[in-house]
Symmetry: C2
Subunit: 242 residues, 2 copies
DNA sequence: CGGCGTTTTGAGGCGCATCAACCTGAGTGG
DNA sequence: CCACTCAGGTTGATGCGCCTCAAAACGCCG
């Protein structure tokens, strides 16, 4: 976790390029950049521990960061994979609460941290920003519930199928579509509440059933209806058991 | 789900008594009451299905309501138990999205629904309300993550122990404390990601270990440190396995 | 006291985690 | 250009824990 010293003007430009701040006022960004600083983290190095009270808003500039809940057996349940341009920590800041998750890098990453007081000051009384942030947090909440839906399912195969269905890009090519896993398989597995072994087994099963085709980190879904069929068939099987 | 016809003035008074609207302006409440209506739901009757696009903000006046994710085997994973004075549906309204959970009554309940357009109109451009709502949603998000932490734990006993630890009231009596389960055991179990059988077994185990004492729906925790000890011991056991 | 909803207790099977070994591909240095 | 290394992924064998199913016990209200 090496902190880099970067001039505020450059920081402001970097901030303005983050998707997180799309549509934000330039003046606001300048002021945010004043109390901001950038640092780098090596792969799998910790950034924040669960229970820390954050004093910054965090933005992932490059690399990838995971928010995770530490489990009793030493493993992690990944709550969110944060991609470049995205941020984390607002919710805890808004409540003045401690982080409900730990933070670590999935790979070598660059992160900017923005002073909390500055951030909160800009927010308070600014309807546009408040509305923007409200929607942001609402989206995060919805996403978390979607994750919960997946990893509450009783069958591990079903979890993988549902995950793949959710990964469909908006634009679907006529002969199916291709997705790139948003991270290492171990991290995806941890997000689905599975071990990487089970995840791997389910993927190869789907492969030999002809539902998907794996080629490295990319997965081809030749026909989306096969996935839906598989989904329905698993649900039917689970229902008759109960 | 019988809708009752109640005069707006009375509705306004009822709204103002809900904890949800604590601190809200009287004028705002009057306007919200205009497009509001009240209805009653019988125990275990559905209110909304997962995927519905809600057109109202919902407030539980009496009874208890559960927000749940339907599982493939016909069971439910309860996301939240909504008590009188609390509400639900804001997040989906704010995003114009469909509900990520189904809604049903845990017992005979009275619910008020407030017209979405009215609600959103009041909110937009009102910094105080926006800030209030932002914090509300942030709290909900934190609560969801806390639930996720519990029900991601690998041991069912640990989940129950963690749940009990989270139930501690702020004021702790010197000779321990007593908690009342916030709902039926089956519902609590569904919130912890357990079957009611497993939940029952874990509770009786904790009982015969002297960690807790059950008397109907109430649970005495003679000594909180015993719970923490049990927690630590389970974690140690899980760690050594891995 | 009788009825129902809820919880408890018991027996059994299966799925996933666990552990361990092997495979693959990318990066490195001689 | 190949030998080596290491991280990430795959595959196989085993055991335990929780879900499932079934039935009895409890608590509550009429």
């Amino acid at each position: 976790m090496n902190s880099l010293s970067i001039p505020p003007a450059h920081l402001r430009d970097t901030l303005s390029r983050q998707a997180y701040f799309r549509g934000w006022d330039a003046g606001v960004l300048s002021r945010l950049a004043m109390g901001a600083s950038q640092f780098s983290v090596g792969k799998d190095m910790p950034v924040l521990a669960r229970g820390d009270v954050p004093e910054h808003l965090y933005l992932v500039v490059s690399g990838q960061v995971r928010l995770f809940i530490p489990l009793a057996n030493g493993m992690e349940r990944i709550v969110s994979l944060v991609m470049p341009g995205e941020g984390f920590g607002e919710v805890a800041l808004l409540l003045g609460a401690s982080l409900p998750y730990g933070v670590a890098a999935c790979r070598d990453s660059h992160i900017i941290m923005v002073n909390a007081r500055t951030y909160l000051a800009e927010l308070s009384g600014a309807p546009a920003l408040l509305e923007h942030t409200l929607r942001l947090v609402a989206r995060q909440h919805q996403a978390t519930l979607l994750d919960m839906e997946i990893c509450s399912q009783p069958s591990s195969l079903l979890r993988v199928v549902r995950f793949l269905m959710n990964q469909r890009p908006c634009a679907e090519v006529d002969d199916g579509y291709e997705i790139t896993l948003p991270g290492r398989k171990r991290d995806i597995a941890a997000k689905l509440g599975l071990t990487q072994e089970t995840f791997s087994r389910m993927l190869s099963f789907l492969g030999q059933q002809g539902v998907i085709a794996m080629q490295g980190g990319a997965i081809r879904i030749g026909d989306g209806s096969k996935l839906r069929l598989m989904d329905a068939s698993i649900c039917a099987k689970e229902m008759q058991r109960a």
